[in-house]
């Protein structure tokens, strides 16, 4: 049981702000994904990474190094140019579309921006649950919603409880602060009880209080057996939340291991320089 990237190489960098439209190759969800960098060179190069249930792995590295692209590969947004992504032993891109959808639904993703839908907090958090229901059930829910007779399921309230927003069920998502919105985004990914969570710089725009709430929620998810990969350039956060750390630089993962060992006794010179803030990148 694990989520694995096995020697993946990919030539697209979301962090460059490419957006993934144009001639991008699309995954089965039709979202923005692959393509090529400005010079066609790989952004993610021969990266292997694994996260086990209940484990928190931090992917650290400077901006633009491919952390987001790696997370999008792990989240099955894109098919890697080389290598494989395996979810609990099943190679996702060797599976059929239906099977890959099932694998994808074992993974929750939280982006740097909350990206909430224009609806109530409850409707946002329920989205992942709703798309897993039959069309008949969804139609019934929509009709109930029209007459104001739709109560959010317990999973929605539980997920909001984890991020301290249980009283915000009926709030309009548009009325939330940035920190609250990001907490709702976390609850939204947690509500359908995924086996793995992918967090892309989840607290980069948040104040210390909201950051602490998110980090506590990561620990809570870990206690529940959810394997988490968090991409961050915040060294302190990586040390606080992660069991293992992987340092991603231009030519792939240059160092990986238990977090404290990577920070206290790095074996790679560039890792040492990066942690010391001496690496010009």
């Amino acid at each position: 049981m694990s989520l694995d990237a096995r020697g993946v190489t990919h030539a697209y960098d979301d962090e460059d702000g490419g957006g993934g439209t144009g001639d991008a190759r699309r995954s089965d969800g039709g979202t923005s994904v692959a393509g090529s960098g400005t010079d066609g060179s790989p952004v993610v190069r021969d990266v292997s990474l694994s996260v086990d249930p209940g484990e928190v792995v931090a992917v650290i590295g400077p901006s633009g190094v491919g952390k987001t692209t790696l997370l999008r590969l792990l989240g099955l947004f894109a098919r890697p140019d080389e290598g494989a992504i395996a979810v609990d032993g099943t190679e996702a891109w060797a599976a059929g579309e239906r099977d890959r959808l099932a694998l994808r639904r074992d993974i929750g993703v939280v982006f740097q921006e909350a990206s909430l839908f224009d609806a109530t907090v409850a409707r946002n958090v329920e989205y992942g649950l709703r798309v897993r229901r039959s069309w008949r059930e969804r139609l019934r829910d929509e009709l109930r919603g029209l007459v104001g007779d739709h109560e959010p399921p317990d999973a929605v309230r539980d997920a909001l409880e984890v991020v301290g927003l249980a009283d915000y069920v009926d709030h309009d998502a548009g009325s939330l602060s940035g920190g609250e919105a990001q907490r709702v985004a976390f609850a939204r990914a947690l509500a359908y009880d995924p086996n793995y969570l992918l967090l892309d710089e989840p607290t980069s725009d948040l104040d210390p209080r909201n950051t602490a709430v998110i980090e506590d929620a990561v620990a809570d998810a870990s206690d529940r057996g959810i394997g988490t990969v968090v991409a961050t350039h915040d060294m302190n956060q990586a040390r606080r939340v992660a069991d293992r750390a992987a340092v991603l630089l231009g030519d792939g993962v240059v160092e990986a291991g238990p977090t404290e060992r990577v920070f206290e006794d790095p074996r790679d010179d560039r890792t040492r320089q990066f942690i010391a803030g001496e690496l010009v990148y």
Partner: protein, 248 residues
């Protein structure tokens, strides 16, 4: 300078205890009915065709997409009289669909208004769908959405734009004169009941005959109808029960 007849309406209204309508209510009601029947039917049919078409074009990557978009946008400015003429030629006895005998019927008017309403509905919907931020698709996809879920979410996010598209199509249809006059004939039957006479063609007729009071009343009714339909569509687009929606 206002025609003396218009002033007469107000003078008469002040002089008598009840408003003296300068028209036969049954006549006006029949005109309103024909206008709404033709325009609403045409817009509903056009929406059913245009919105899926716009979504398909918006989501698909294919060769010539830019050309298709340009053709749709060009259609928005297509002269209505030319549309009416083309529909008339197509439906006339010597035309390819002459055997259907639709000329000077409401069906012919619906066809004409369908052709007129489709470009604005498709074009504005396409702009609304393609204008939705990538975050919407990513969020829907990341939460386990299928291709259909992602598309539905984008449509919900674009709902205000789509509502605007429908309104634009309806506005073009109900305010249209040239094509419905050509294919419908502006016919009122025995007893003064409209057969193919719409609010716009009736206004034109009454104004040309110097019956400005009735023309103004019909104009007011037309504006009221458009306002009412706008209010309903905007209300539908504003519903908080929608679950897709914009980002923050």
């Amino acid at each position: 300078m206002l025609p003396t007849g218009v002033l007469g309406v107000f003078a008469d209204a002040a002089a008598v205890p009840f408003v003296a309508f300068p028209f036969e209510p049954r006549y006006v009601l029949s005109i309103v009915f024909v206008s709404l029947y033709v325009s609403v039917t045409a817009v509903v049919l056009s929406t059913l065709a245009s919105v899926p078409l716009a979504i398909a074009v918006g989501f698909a990557d294919f060769r010539g997409k830019r050309l298709v978009t340009s053709i749709i946008n060009t259609g928005m400015g297509f002269p209505s009289v030319v549309v009416g003429l083309l529909v008339l030629v197509t439906l006339s006895n010597s035309g390819p669909l002459g055997h259907l005998e639709l000329v000077f019927t409401k069906k012919a008017m619906i066809i004409s208004q369908f052709v007129l309403a489709t470009p604005p509905i498709t074009g504005i919907t396409l702009a609304a769908v393609t204008g939705v931020r990538e975050d919407v698709r990513d969020a829907a996809f990341a939460l386990g959405g299928t291709r259909t879920d992602v598309a539905l979410t984008v449509v919900k996010q674009a709902r205000y734009g789509i509502a605007t598209a429908v309104l634009a199509g309806f506005g073009r249809a109900i305010s249209e004169v040239g094509s419905v006059l050509i294919v419908g004939g502006n016919i009122a039957g025995a007893g003064g009941v409209s057969k193919t006479r719409t609010l716009t063609t009736a206004i034109r007729l009454e104004a040309r005959q110097g019956r400005y009071e009735l023309a103004l009343v019909l104009g007011a009714v037309l504006v009221a109808v458009v306002l009412a339909v706008n209010a309903v569509v905007v209300r539908l687009g504003d519903s908080k029960t929608w679950t897709g929606g914009g980002l923050r």
